[in-house]
């Protein structure tokens, strides 16, 4: 466990494998400090979104400094919005691409950035052009 608390990150995806893969890549950028929890697939592990899984991942990622959600598309986005709205702690859905956003968020969280900074880092990931 990191000695100081960091902003948590939750990766919400239709696919368990995709969420775990994104979390794996983002953790590599989080230099052992960032806390990244995957919440992918439905409750049975198939394709879908489970609000219960997302809520559990948020609870696991939250060390008191808030949690940033990254979502892939469609129901993942709606579910993430709903979980953020219902949360009693500080939970924000970033308007960001899933992979690049998670990596940018992980770097900033690991560097000790606050919730707003981590959200801003994730959202600025739309600027990483590839062509």
């Amino acid at each position: 466990m990191p000695s100081e608390s960091v902003v948590g990150i939750v990766v919400v995806s239709h696919s368990r494998a995709l969420a775990e893969g994104v979390a794996e890549v983002a953790r590599a950028m989080g230099v052992g400090k960032a806390v990244i929890e995957p919440a992918g697939g439905d409750a049975e592990g198939g394709l879908g979104t489970s609000p219960d899984l997302v809520e559990r991942a948020v609870a696991a990622a939250d060390s008191g400094d808030g949690v940033v959600l990254l979502a892939d598309l469609g129901s993942s986005v709606l579910t993430a919005r709903l979980v953020a709205e219902d949360a009693e702690t500080r939970v924000v859905l970033a308007d960001a691409p899933l992979v690049e956003g998670a990596i940018a968020a992980a770097s900033t969280a690991a560097a000790g950035g606050g919730l707003e900074e981590v959200v801003a880092a994730a959202e600025s990931a739309y600027d990483f052009r590839k062509r």
Binding site: D42, G48, T49, P51, G74, S75, T79
Partner: protein, 200 residues
Amino acid sequence: MWIRLAAERVTAEADRLTALDAAIGDGDHGHNLERGFAAAVAALPELPEGMPPGKVLVAAGRAIISKTGGASGPLYGTALRRAGKALGEAGEIDAAGLGAALRAALEGVQELGKAVEGDKTLVDALGPAVAAYESTLTAGGDLAACTRAAADAAREGAEATIPLQARKGRASYLGERSVGHMDPGASSTTLILEALADAV
């Protein structure tokens, strides 16, 4: 009770809704909703006797959010929770109270999904339904007349989604290929509002 009737209708039409969704989405809408409403019905006997209808709707909404999967869970769950909160502690539902609850449901769905009328979503059924309910109420209609007007307007609204191109939801990735199919969400909203009209 409305929830039970809505669940029966959704179950009876699950294959048709899923077929509509298979045309322009990911082909799970009917069976997702069937599962969600089944969870809502299963939650009913657990509730204390004599619970006000608003609280029952909030509990049903929570069950639907938790069990439906897909985008329709958060959307329908939010609709029921908002409607239930608008009804509050009232023991009896009157026409004005239900109208306010339907308006709250529409606002909740639009806040969450960011859809407006014409995007080819359930808002194309729910929006006109709420408007028809309110104008019938203003004209002096009772609960039966208002809910029937809402159900009729929802059906017309759902039919009107056929020529539309989707701008929200999974179907929006299809672009022009979404034209020519009825929106599954607008269709299921019609079923649920028809169940309401039959239940009151």
